[in-house]
Amino acid sequence: MIILKHVLVIAAILMAELTLGTATVAAQDTDVRVVIKDHKFVPAEITVPAGKKIKLIVENQDATAEEFESYELNREKVVPGKGQIAIFVGPLSPGRYPFFGDFHKDTAKGVLIVQ
């Protein structure tokens, strides 16, 4: 039971800290678009501002499904053929965040540049 109590206390502290921490960040969504065509991302490089929540809209112009995936962004989502999806990421710190299409890894590569 002592271990459980510790776990719960840690959880409570974590929750309090994180809630306070994120409350100070002004959340204003920024929309960006990327298109999948011939199993490639267009544009392959997208620049977005740091410290803002980003709504990434992915439009798939190919007939078959793709899976948008990024280890750096910790995101994965299937994009249906001839379909469109949205993914929320961030707020991010400056840096390069590569992403790829899991179903066509050789060609579908892109990077989110956060400045």
Binding site: L18, T22, N74, G81, V89
Partner: protein, 272 residues
């Protein structure tokens, strides 16, 4: 063929590890192979159905249907595991004693195998639907049928072999500790699933992230490595978790542990 095999392997591995933990947790239950096979079959059918409805699911709920669907599937599995783990905590000790004295073939009474059948089916449905979509895309992209068939065969065999290796590893645990070990594994499995579900809800902007990246341990253990993926499937390892994921992980684990403690208490004390 290798590219196909690798993707199939990755998805099979995650599902196979879940099935392995379930198979270990039901050790000694008569007819468990039938139950688990039924779960696998239901999962494969479900995977095909989900893959065929991808467009509908993706467009549902303002484009956030996929996240909601995944989160629901994961939370359902968490609830089933919690139910089973708490049930086992109540009856596990008696089971271990019976198995020790009478051998493992003994009938150990009714067990909520339905719960675990659902866990198996949901795990396969989730991972399998991605495989099916990927294979559709490969076939449409002009991949040869033998490349696809060979890729599936290699990937599935590889994933299942890893699951089997884990199973035989678990069998080395002495029987008196066996169900304690499998119960903890189930608890961590459920906590990991809750964390994944939280990630989907953050991705859909339905939950605050509470810190988009609480830490980054990818340099120590990458998500892409075999070990990273194995730990991801088994105990919910995430190299770059959002704060709310960690919160869901800890709270889910704590709730199940508390449930196991409360229900698993020996009833020797008289009330009052």
């Amino acid at each position: 063929m290798l590219g196909i095999a690798i993707l199939v392997f990755r998805e099979t591995l995650e599902a196979a590890l879940v099935v392995t933990v379930v198979f270990a947790a039901t050790r000694g239950v008569p007819g468990r192979a039938r139950w688990i096979s039924a779960g696998i079959a239901a999962g494969v059918l479900g995977a095909v159905a989900v893959a065929l409805s991808t467009g509908i699911i993706a467009d549902a709920v303002q484009g956030m249907g996929q996240e909601l669907f995944n989160a629901t599937v994961l939370f359902a599995a968490v609830a089933m595991i919690a139910w089973h783990a708490i049930w086992m905590a109540t009856h596990g000790r008696a089971l271990a004693v019976q198995m020790k004295t009478l051998g493992s073939a003994v009938s150990v009474g009714r067990r909520p195998l339905t719960a675990l059948l659902i866990v198996v089916a949901l795990a396969i449905l989730r991972e399998g639907s991605e495989v099916v979509l990927f294979l559709f895309a490969q076939a449409a992209g002009g991949a040869q049928w033998w490349d696809i068939a060979g890729g599936i065969a290699l990937g599935v065999v590889g994933g299942c072999a890893t699951g089997l290796a884990l199973y035989f590893g678990l069998l080395r645990i002495p029987i008196r500790h066996f169900f304690t070990a499998t119960n903890w594994l189930l608890l961590l499995l459920a906590a990991g699933m809750a964390s994944q579900a939280a990630r989907f809800l953050v991705q859909a902007d339905l939950l605050p992230s509470l810190g988009p990246r609480l830490w980054d341990s990818s340099a120590l253990l990458s998500d892409r490595s075999l070990l990273g993926q194995t730990l991801h499937a088994l105990v919910g390892y995430d190299a770059r978790p959002a704060g709310v994921q960690v919160l869901f992980y800890v709270v889910t684990g704590a709730l199940i542990a508390i449930g196991m403690r409360l229900c698993g208490k020996p009833r020797t004390r008289s009330p009052g």
